[in-house]
Amino acid sequence: MILKANLKYNICWLILMVAGFYLMNTLILVGVIDSFLENMLVTIGINIILAVGLNLVIGFAGQFSLGHAGFMAVGAYATAIIISKTPTAGAFYVSIIVGVVIAIVAALVVGIPTLRLRGDYLAIATMGAAEIIRIVINNLKITNGPSGMFNIPQFATWPVVYIMICVTTIIIVNFIHSRGGRAAMAVREDEIAAESMGINVFKWKLAAFVLGAATAAVAGSMQASYLQTIAPSNFNIMESIAILIIVVLGGVGSVTGSFVAAIILGIVDTALQNFGALRMVIYAVVLILIMIFKPSGIMGTWELSFKRLFTKKTKTEVKS
């Protein structure tokens, strides 16, 4: 009975994902989406993966991390190095896994000492950790130092990115709505209460942090192989802040919000490209206005839920 009810919602999500794919496919085939628009959409997609992962850490586990770009760099360079040497599709998928594994190890190394800190201190410590990752990459031979890597073979076409958005989002949303996610949210709400409920506060903070880092590495792999060039300067503190802006704008604690904000900012960013230097000013004004009139972000903590849609419908039916 419960399985059946959940099957209904899961099928709805599946239909939504498949429909999105075919819509995109058709629009490309008939020429509505040219390569310029496709580039914009893929960039939005990569930002969605990053923002959803960071939202898990900030919005659900309540840990203010500013080091997301560091983990992205790990994934990007793993993919770039591996597929430059062996340009096959198989090697590309292996490289994603390698990137994720290295990012998990890096997140453990960074997280175990820093997650004992709170708030601003944690933000500064994670920011420092991301800078260390970037500077290490900057000084290694295998990563080609500050000039970065180019002519990386392109295996991350838009369908690959699309599937990765779906996979990472499913993993994160399902994690949130399970034992681990509830424990992480308890930590966000009140650490002392969570601890006296028998919850290993440190363990669940670390779990959310590591899962966020792993998805950031996937996004990095996508970026390296789609844009075909990467440099250490792509993964500096500004990139971490750009991801943070998406999370805050969409709503801290709303996965739907991260999607909406990534799409809006992606479109705004592209539309303002003709304005030159004025672009950053307009971008900033848009952000300030939203923060004044909707401080909790565009979506607050609201989530799209088929379950709620269906139960609402049955309730109104019963009434009428």
Binding site: I171, F175, R182, I192, A193, M197, G198
Partner: protein
């Protein structure tokens, strides 16, 4: 009746201040014990020591586990909690932005397992576990008449109900001891009467030991089987409610010396 929790010569210093000094006490099975004392006597500090939130300076706390006694000194708070010690807080600490049901489910975290792969890929076993623990949580909420508030956010509940939910959340941990830190604080007489009934009900239906900090003397004298009186960090008296009411040292601590 055998000893469940034993405290011996417990001391806690904060710098030069001795908040708890040489406290020796014990809690037995199925007992309702009250801890009273004037403001600043060290009651909450003692609670925090017992639940592992702060570490004692010296002395020992031991707990009777399934395989012999377990020393609690220096153990992490969550490990102590999982041995069977639940608590509520003087200033309510619910998970405010989460639903009533989630609050209870979180307290049950240590009592069920969900693998990462299982939950992330929503394997059938995940749905079975979820259905089962949700059922269990709702049954518990029903006992305390909270079944209609299941989906409400904890912060939107009235004050008295929030206090009740905090107790229910503690019970969801299936504890052996429940520590209640001023459960009647800020309640009107009607709510306090409800609370008295609730605590009796818990004792009757769950067979657990309750240690209660309370300022409301009518509640304490009504409920407690035994009372410990704490003053300036040390134990002033111990006894039944009748004995405590007659104890000159206790009267002096509360009312001051006769002129």
């Amino acid at each position: 009746m055998s000893t469940l929790l034993k405290v011996e010569d417990l001391v806690k210093n904060f710098g030069g201040l001795t908040a708890v000094s040489d406290v020796t006490m014990q809690l037995n099975d199925d007992e309702l014990v009250a801890l009273i004392g004037p403001n600043g006597a060290g009651k909450t500090t003692l609670f925090n020591l017992l639940t592992g939130v702060i570490v004692p300076s010296s002395g020992s706390i031991t707990f009777r586990g399934p395989n012999g006694t377990i020393p609690l000194n220096g153990k992490k708070a969550y490990k102590i909690a999982n041995l069977g010690m639940a608590r509520t807080f003087q200033n309510i600490r619910l998970f405010k932005e989460l639903s009533v049901l989630d609050n209870v489910l979180i307290a049950m975290t240590a009592h069920y397992k969900e693998g990462f792969v299982q939950s992330v890929f929503r394997l059938p076993k995940f749905y079975r576990t979820e259905a089962q623990i949700r059922q269990e949580a709702i049954e518990l909420l029903k006992i305390f008449d909270l079944q209609d508030d299941v989906d409400k956010l904890a912060k939107n509940l009235p004050y008295g109900i929030q206090r009740r939910l905090e107790i229910v959340r503690g019970l969801a941990m299936k504890p052996k001891v429940l520590f209640l830190d001023e459960p009647a604080a800020g309640m009107n007489p009607e709510e306090t009467a409800d609370l008295t009934r609730l605590i009796r009900q818990i004792q009757r239906e769950f067979h657990i030991t309750v240690l209660l900090i309370e300022h409301d003397m009518s509640l304490v004298m009504n409920l407690a089987e035994r009372i410990y009186v704490l003053d300036h960090g040390s134990l002033l008296a111990e006894g039944t409610p009748a004995q405590i009411q007659q104890n000159p040292a206790v009267i002096k601590a509360y009312l001051g010396e006769e002129a």
